[in-house]
Amino acid sequence: MNPLIRLKQVGFRYRGAKAPILRGVDLTVRRGDRILLRGRSGSGKSTLLLILAGLAPEYVAGELSGEREILYHRRGVVLQNPEAQVVTPTVEEEVAFALENQGKEPLWIRRRVRETLEALGIAYLSGRHPLSLSGGECQRVSLAAALAMEPEVLFLDEPTSYLDEESSQRFFQALDLLPPETAIVVVEHRLEAASRVCQKAYQVQEDGSLLESDFTPDLVESISFGGELPEAMGRGGNASILLKDPVELKARMRGTDLADTAMGPVLWVAGLSHRWFTRNGNGYGFERNTQSSTELFHDLHLTVGAGEIVALLGPSGAGKTTLLGKISGRLPVEKGKVFIQGKDITTLSKQTFYSLFMLIPQNPEHMFLAETVREELSVVQKDLARAGEGSEMRIERMTERFGLAHRLDAHPFRLSEGEKRRLNLAVAFRVRRPLYLLDEPTYGLDEYAKSLLRKDLRSLTEAGAGVLFVTHDRAFAEKTAHTVYTMKEGQLVREEKRELVCCPA
């Protein structure tokens, strides 16, 4: 088969970075190759994909060394975040965008767009604004935009990291539409999904080199932390206890400040319902705007005990994030009650309410407020000192504990997805709260980063806190949570009561 891309001893160094992220990479992509690029978060696999796609250093500030030969003429690229790929106001124009750039005849483009959308089963979305679609639909539109060009090489950068299980399966199934001579290069953490498509795998090593690999998951369970548990989190707790039951843990935690205040469950959701409203009419003309409502969920009941990890699964749009929004006060509680540490949240002052829990939003960047990782942790230190709460742990020790010691002076927005999540957790650890709420904490994380997250969450519960997280990642939920709920058709279904063995200290 003809080569489409040749890399010889290629290296790449980002502008301002001390060391190159990639070095000595040799890779040849041939027609029909299906290649998986894997590696830890921040290892440089997305950078390698951009180099192969001819986008780095052309559109990414940095320096390329070695030899790169690009022999293809048509490429398709699907990036990680579906929202950040939307340019035009209709799906039809979005799919046509690249073809218009090639100067194709408009009638031919319309026909090609229709065929592609039909092949992907999303022709009904043609007139919609891409940003009004679900993440799964939006990502399939991005795929349609790439496929419409009949690419010789298709580059996929973690295309399913924002999608639920069903949507990511459908995404990879759609790749079956490609002719066998089309090469695919994919960066993906979901190895099972990727192995369905790829024949070869390459691992980006920690030193930036590339090695041929297989599809077996990393041995991540044996990873131990470099640092110790923060003093405040470990106070009164014992990291080596077997966490069989949150009630048992609560009993063991008696005498600690967190456990003493937890008379009932940390979180109790009683009979919570939510309706969402849609405005009818296109907003123009003399027609009257009317509203219709749909019930998203009804009469939900949920408890999170002290020392308990609860996972909430469910497809996109099921209402998981809305439920978190109601618990955290971002959305009003109209019907039903939410209690945190036995207190009805609607009766609390803002300050009391916010001091009862910590929220880590879906997008880790939303929590950031400083220019460097060091400042990020200093800001919270100052706030907490003013409020008389928080741990006394030194920033250096904290960053070492969370594997961020080498990024102390980096801008938080420039960290890898895994590092951003870990910075969020470092901040969360500094503020001791009885309840932790996490919205899709595994987005963009590889297996290694997930295993670290799992241990972090367990450390929180060992100190007596309750954790509720919503996720699409069933495997992570099952490995991490004591209780797994699935949100289906507006109802919560409790899946099982799990017994977890806590990680050794």
Binding site: L55, V87, P89
Partner: protein, 240 residues
């Protein structure tokens, strides 16, 4: 989709709205704003359809400025000037300017205006589609700002000064928006926007002979009414 309710090319409507706004901008009497307000409403009705409720609500809110100017002139009149007369004139002028501008904004789909700039005034697609992406991001910014402020408030335990909190949120939002812009730009580059030498469009906003006629009539009516007002002595122009 928020499709356009305009029946004419957005640039043609912009031009005619501009013709109608100029005399009002120069006037310091009460007749000129009323005449051009009526002409503007006629133009609005002919050029497309506007949601009356939304229109009245927006104009109502923005007319607060006119009311303020009216009160200012009545309560603190300049020497040798009839404060009430001047106040009414200033109120009518500002309300007419607001009414015509709001009418245009609600009538024309911003995407169609950008398309029209690309198709009819040769705005480079790189800039045109960047404007598309910028417009797309506005509702996302509002959503993200809500989430950011909420996350920051929880993070700081509900303490801290609201203004400082707002500033912190704005910085985070801005940093996120810059990152979003970089990603969209990369996505456009990946789809060959920079290699597009002869770009085509599946949706074109054409300038037709009807738009030309519409502009000529619009200019004729606006200029005619203006001249008539000047000749009749109704138009008053003052500096300051």
């Amino acid at each position: 989709m928020n499709s356009s309710a305009a029946r004419r090319n957005p640039l043609a409507i912009l031009l005619v709205t501009f013709f109608l706004l100029i005399p009002v901008l120069l006037a310091f009497d009460t007749t000129t704003p009323v005449v051009f307000f009526c002409l503007g409403m006629t133009n609005l009705a002919l050029a497309g359809t506007v949601n009356v409720r939304k229109y009245l609500l927006t104009v109502g809110i923005l007319s607060g400025v006119g009311v303020g100017l009216f009160l200012l002139n009545v309560l603190f009149p300049a020497k040798g000037v009839d404060g009430f007369q001047r106040g009414v004139a200033v109120f009518l002028r500002s309300t007419t300017l607001v009414s015509l501008s709001v009418g245009y904004i609600l009538l024309v789909d911003p995407y169609d205006l950008i398309r029209s700039l690309m198709h009819n005034l040769r705005l480079p697609p790189r800039i045109g589609f960047a404007l598309f992406a910028g417009w797309n991001v506005i509702p996302l910014l509002k959503r993200d700002m809500d989430i950011i402020r909420h996350a920051h408030a929880i993070r700081s335990g509900g303490i801290g000064k609201p203004f400082k909190g707002f500033l912190r949120g704005a910085v985070t939002l801005l940093s996120g928006a810059v990152r979003h812009g970089e990603r969209v730009s990369l996505s456009m580059a990946a789809r060959g926007i920079d290699e597009a030498t002869t770009r085509t469009f599946i949706k074109r906003i054409q300038w037709t002979w009807k738009d030309t006629i519409y502009c000529i009539i619009g200019f004729g009516v606006a200029a005619g009414a203006f001249l008539l007002l000047i000749h009749s002595g109704r138009f008053v122009f003052e500096l300051g």
